[in-house]
Point group: C2
């Protein structure tokens, strides 16, 4: 087995196993440069018939300024997918371009090289190799553009025909990896969006708002970050928290919307929302919904064992339930509701401390208070607006014309 | 650029662009055989510390019986990941095995070859090369096992050291592709499960059941299949249909649960569920929720323009809305509800025909009636059970002990 084949397998593994798009582009550009011995390079991605500059490497400038400072020399821009630029030509014609000197492009070629960046940064771009990244359907996903091939002494040379072939093949593999990463990203976003809407839908019947849910998710993450959860656990917690009150779907209006204090029988029915939520989410196949079930069931338990529905105590209560209990109550205290004004901050903090060890896990209260600045930022970022509190009133006046519709599936 | 490197890139593209697991395993096995010149081979996938036989190729038997008949000669089985079998040894020790003749394994080796299949199918397994498929964390994803390398004349030879290296590298790339396909599958399942639960949650307050939603999805697909939708469109339609009544979340109990006929004012409020649904799903980023919004808004429009909320007519009504309108009404007529018995089949069919061109798109009614046998199968597969109709009564007696909890995230 030869070196290039071995390397191609290694590169294939790196591309296939990277699902974060930014990281993937970085790997693609680094490998493209390594395969061809290029000093510098850039990647453009195609969107809406334009090419968007995404990432650039420049070894000479890395050595001169460091990677971080060099990064600041590049600004985002986009160019049309036409023949006026090298990358645009490459995309429009779906073919690689191999130029010996970009300062000496024959006059009858349609494109020109823009020397502006070179001048501003005291760099001399000379040889250039650009290849379109084509997916399996032959569509342009983007362009990878390499600058200044180097020989072993470090002198700039032209890119060989062989390098052209290597880059062309590699660019297609990169295109498929990019599409894969995007697909995963889209699927993930679609799922999380649906999870969030399920949470919002449940609160819809209550006096709560979408921003209440968003804040509870954020507070939960703040506490979780300081309570030893890893990135994956935090992600699951964040979205599971959005569904904590999903069981309110099963609570009768007469109780949910009652303006006065509840009778003890009504309170008992209201408390059923924890069990109903757990029932709605029962038997889920995915981690996220399983965690959401636990949160729905246990977010009204109290650390001292006097909560509901099970009356479990201390660390018998799952960590996620203890965290969301704190986040949910903190938000109820610190924000305005239809039936109450927001409590002043000192009163809220006083209650949290009083309830530490009683309602709440004292360790979690400490963790939250240490990061309290972050909670303030969340309040500023997701305030309750007047119209959110009156959503039912607004609905009564809703007309179809006010609803934005956007359905690609129906357009087929 | 050499042939092997070029080939490795091509293989990388094939692996990365295939997201269906069965198809992927087929490609992996075909490529592994082509790379090493093997006559036959199998892939095992690891699950719960066992290896599960997944796929087998055998060129000699393909030639003798054809691919389809050969497929019938293999039966599913699983083996422990230990040293007793060749694949098990390979997985347990995470290293490749290259055997010149499996009928002549040295007596001090821990594993034996089982000749049973060979005898039953008149085949002689001789040389064998097996490699573990290791992911980037070094975990065993499965084993690929190749049999009988062939020289140019078609004689069986041993696998070379070079082939061993090629297969080992390739197997790692295959492992990552398999994990990728599984991840995509899991994400997709999780998303669709959440979509369905959002639909079920909404019906929770109404007199409907989860199986009502399932049936409406199925009927919609039956109609959609005959109405020119492609596979992707059908998939979107199926899941969007699950959310058609999501707006019922916003309808007051007093109206939703009223046993008597609604007054005209109550009916007006009830009809708001189409607008509320569209509002809940407004501004979604993914195709599926966007399509669901259109379905929520338009599934009570009528082909003759006398429906609500917009009173649009004919093909002004989006196709998905017209399809779900038919599916939803058909299910309401043909199944039992708390307030009515199921209508006899002839009466249901009579109503559909009467309403063709009035309530329903006549072309869709025709398409549905042509495939009516499929609708009957759906009714048998998803019947309404007594306990589903009484779910609120059951909830009132719910205790935490009856709810199944399963939270991997909390176990950390």
């Amino acid at each position: 087995m030869n070196d290039l084949a071995r390397r191609m397998i290694r590169v294939g593994i790196a591309l296939t196993s990277t699902r974060d798009l930014d990281r993937l582009l970085d790997i693609i550009l680094a490998e493209a440069r390594a395969l061809t011995g290029a000093d510098a390079g850039s990647i453009y991605l195609a969107r809406e018939n334009r090419l968007w500059f995404c990432i650039s490497h420049n070894q000479t400038l890395f050595s001169r300024h460091g990677e971080e400072e060099t990064g600041k020399l590049f600004r985002e821009f986009d160019i049309p997918m036409d023949g006026d630029s090298i990358a645009g030509y490459c995309a429009a014609h779906k073919k690689a371009l191999n130029l010996a000197d970009v300062y000496d492009i024959p006059a009858d070629f349609p494109f020109r090289f823009n020397r502006y960046w070179d001048r501003a940064n005291n760099y001399r771009s000379k040889s250039m190799l650009a290849a379109p990244m084509l997916n399996t359907a032959g569509e342009v996903v983007g362009v990878v553009q390499l600058i200044n091939a180097k020989d072993k002494k470090g002198d700039t040379i032209s890119f060989s025909r062989d390098m052209e072939e290597v880059l062309t093949s590699f660019a297609s593999e990169a295109a498929v990896a990019i599409e894969n990463a995007r697909l995963t990203e889209q699927l993930r976003d679609a799922h999380l969006e649906t999870v969030f809407r399920l949470g919002v839908a449940a609160e819809y019947r209550d006096k709560e708002t979408a921003n209440h849910i968003r804040r509870v998710c954020e507070y939960s993450r703040i506490v979780g970050e300081r309570s030893g959860l890893d990135q994956e656990g935090l992600e699951v917690l964040y979205w599971a928290a959005a569904m904590h009150d999903v069981g309110k779907l099963g609570v009768p209006d007469a109780i949910l919307h009652k303006p006065d204090a509840l009778t003890s029988e009504e309170r008992r029915v209201m408390q059923y929302h924890t069990l109903i939520g757990a029932k709605i989410l029962e038997g889920a196949g995915c981690d996220l919904l399983q965690a959401a079930q636990v949160v729905a069931l246990t977010h009204h338990e109290r650390f001292d064992g006097t909560g509901y529905p099970q009356g479990i105590r201390g660390e018998e209560i799952p960590l996620f339930g203890r965290i969301v209990a704190l986040a949910d109550v903190f938000d109820a205290l610190s924000s305005r509701r239809v039936y109450k004004a927001a409590f002043p901050e000192e009163k809220v903090l006083c209650i949290l401390k009083e309830e530490s060890g009683a309602h709440f896990d004292p360790r979690l209260v400490d963790n939250f208070l240490q990061a309290y600045e972050l909670a303030r930022e969340v309040q500023d970022r997701y305030p309750d607006r007047e119209e959110d509190l009156n959503k039912f009133k607004n609905l009564e006046q809703l007309t179809p014309g006010e609803i934005k519709i956007n359905c690609p599936a129906c357009a087929r």
